[in-house]
Subunit: 415 residues, 2 copies
């Protein structure tokens, strides 16, 4: 076992998460224009300001008719009606059907009063002054009535619901212009370490590529945040404090990586541990993680300090930072969807640690899932890059035999 870093007994993940997430509140609600709110979570129910549809209207291009006039129409015995005028979607006047007459109407047009049905063009000779109708409609054919879908005042969407393109369509159609949502969380990502250099070069002894600020900024975006990559901060407490002073202004969450261990070079822990703004915990997860959580600045912006090893940082983001971002956004649940899957090869896992193992999940013909671990040790990034999910091997699991059922968290791998 190589995942202990000395010090106190590791805290169980469930306990750690409940302690941290208990301190994170959804962001205060704001009023946003519909289009800007896509992807956000509603912070209040939305009611319909008017009926939906707003008025009786045609759903097809055709002729607005009275049932009495066309009830006997058939291909053999078409009915002839006088066309009193045209109504388009953009025109309106208060008109009324009288016996033996109709109006030509366009899809979307308001209906003359007395309309029982709209005869589609295809059932007619498409006449201009008079039209021959070759088929009897059912009452209500080709039209929709005001309030048929939702009454005025009806609840259209609920507090906590995600704003999707389809919900935007419904709300716009009902006359809603803006809605009360949780704003998109703003997340600032800072990598710390004197050894770090920017991407595009191969690491050398003493000079490691900064993987984390790039990968975690992308991961925060994927989790729904506006993510800002600050980049690399040297192992200087004053430099770190200066960066934080600047960044707290635009941050709902700050993520740092590196320096969370107990060694003399672990600057983040020394800096924040001293003034107790951040509490550091060794969490019993594998890949291992010493994670800090606290708040900084007068605004008490939440901060989480993740380990420097990229594999451990990605795992810590997954188990902690991602749920924090979803909590800030007002989303529930804050964890990824999970399925039960049939394990296709035996895996070993460390006792007392909750392991998240990169895995390939597949749907089985006939239902259910299979899951296979990806090759490479727990700290490898290649397995994670190929994974479609994370197999969860609980604290009590030391061997999960082939054929047993395990929980798997599913990544979104397709838009």
């Amino acid at each position: 076992m190589d995942h202990k870093s000395g010090g106190a007994e590791p805290v169980a993940l469930a306990e750690f998460l409940s302690r941290v997430l208990g301190r994170v509140r959804p962001l205060p609600a704001i009023d946003l224009d519909l289009t800007q709110a896509c992807g956000c979570v509603l912070a209040a129910d939305v009611t319909a300001p008017g009926p939906l549809p707003a008025f009786d209207h045609a759903t097809v291009d055709g002729y607005a008719v009275r049932m009495e006039d066309v009830a006997g129409a058939s291909p053999e015995r078409p009915v002839s009606l006088k066309v009193l005028g045209d109504v388009s979607a953009s025109s309106w006047r208060p008109v009324r059907l009288i016996p033996g007459t109709c109006f030509a109407v366009a899809a979307g047009a308001s209906l003359p009063s007395g309309t029982d049905a709209v005869i589609p063009l295809g059932w007619t000779d498409e006449g201009m002054a008079a039209v021959r109708v070759g088929q009897a409609p059912k009452r209500g054919n080709g039209l929709r009535r005001a309030g048929e879908e939702r009454e005025s005042g009806a609840v259209l969407a609920h507090n906590g619901q995600h704003v999707t393109p389809q919900l935007i369509a419904l709300l716009a159609a009902a006359g809603v212009g803006d809605i009360v949502v949780r704003p998109t969380p703003r997340v600032v990502v800072i990598a710390t370490g004197d050894e770090l250099m920017d991407t595009g070069r191969v690491s050398q002894p003493g000079q490691l590529v900064d993987v984390n600020s790039h990968a975690l900024t992308a991961a925060a975006s994927e989790a729904g945040a506006h993510a800002f990559r600050v980049g690399i901060c040297d192992d200087e407490p004053e430099a770190l404090r200066a960066v934080l002073d600047d960044q707290t202004l635009r941050a709902d969450l700050i993520i740092t990586t590196g320096g969370t261990g107990t060694g003399p070079g672990d600057m983040v822990r020394r800096t924040f541990g001293r003034d107790r703004t951040v509490e550091f915990s060794t969490v019993a997860v594998y890949p291992s993680a010493t994670i800090g959580f606290g708040s900084v600045g007068p605004e008490e912006v939440p901060i989480t300090c993740l380990p420097g090893d990229p594999g451990a940082a990605m795992n810590a983001f997954e188990v902690l930072a991602r749920p924090i971002i979803l909590r800030l956004a007002g989303a529930e649940p804050v964890f990824r969807p999970s399925v039960k899957a049939n394990l296709i090869e035996t895996v070993q896992s460390p006792a007392n640690y909750r392991e998240f193992r990169p895995a390939h999940v597949a749907e089985r013909r006939g239902g259910g899932y299979t899951v296979a671990p990806l090759p490479g040790g727990p700290y490898t990034l290649s397995g994670l890059a190929e994974a479609t999910g994370l197999m969860v091997l609980g604290e009590k699991v030391t061997t999960a035999p082939a054929g047993s059922t395990v929980d798997v968290l599913l990544f979104d791998r397709h838009r």
Copy 2:
């Protein structure tokens, strides 16, 4: 049946899609910085510029040792080693272990030559000048060797693969700085119609809220595009042409809604049909759709003209515009993931039309899915707003009985 609009026999969806998608090519590849490429699709394989890991390094804080020195260590008989120095992740000098000595190393640090294992702090007394080791490691404990994960020159990711945060981590770690990807498609959305007014008011006869430009802009974003909402264009051919002249500069795809019918007020069809830049087809899908596809401007920017009815427009986006966006982005497959599901109530569907019915999909205990249609007719937006998927009822289906198996396209409803 109220979904015919007259004219030629409708074209089958599969035939229409194959014709249109056959004309759409992935966007030309560009070179992007890793962080900017998240969400894009690779246009070339990516090979490792160096080995991964780049050099032998410690994975834990501890002591770099030779096996010969510590093979006999146990809690009862600890082995004492002289500590020759410290190596941190940011320091490096060419050092070498000699018998009876060790180096204190930090996680991430390069290893002295001759190192066989790294003893974690927890197995020791954490001594400074000398350290007592109370447990014998396995060879390779606490360290990773250069190239252990990937050799220099190995393929790290394949042409066609999506760039995920996890892939960014892998590529950055291997020394990759930028990659060749398809750019994010830029999509311009224009609603046409004299009757349209902006959102935030309830529709009136002659004045309809512009649902489509808002909902389709959001839908295009959700499909992975940079979407630009131009808003409302009146039914004036010159106005439409002027808007297009402006917008083609920033568009990889133009989406219009409204005016695709055969009536005298159907401006989009009259304008584009005349010069044959756009070909209009009545597609045998339900909700019904008369859809145009063609190209505009000297750059031959693809354009698709969707119907004005919001339910029909959303459906046409789903069946046609979304696959076009994914094709431009280089993604495969271009269609949503589909599952087989057990239908829990009998549904009727029009013959000869491929129907996409908003539905609620649920995973069944023990595997597989169930699906239930959502209430409301085919043109309602409320069903679509609640849907987690679209039930696909093929051309030959007129009744799908409860208990039968149907195909369902799955929406992404969770991040």
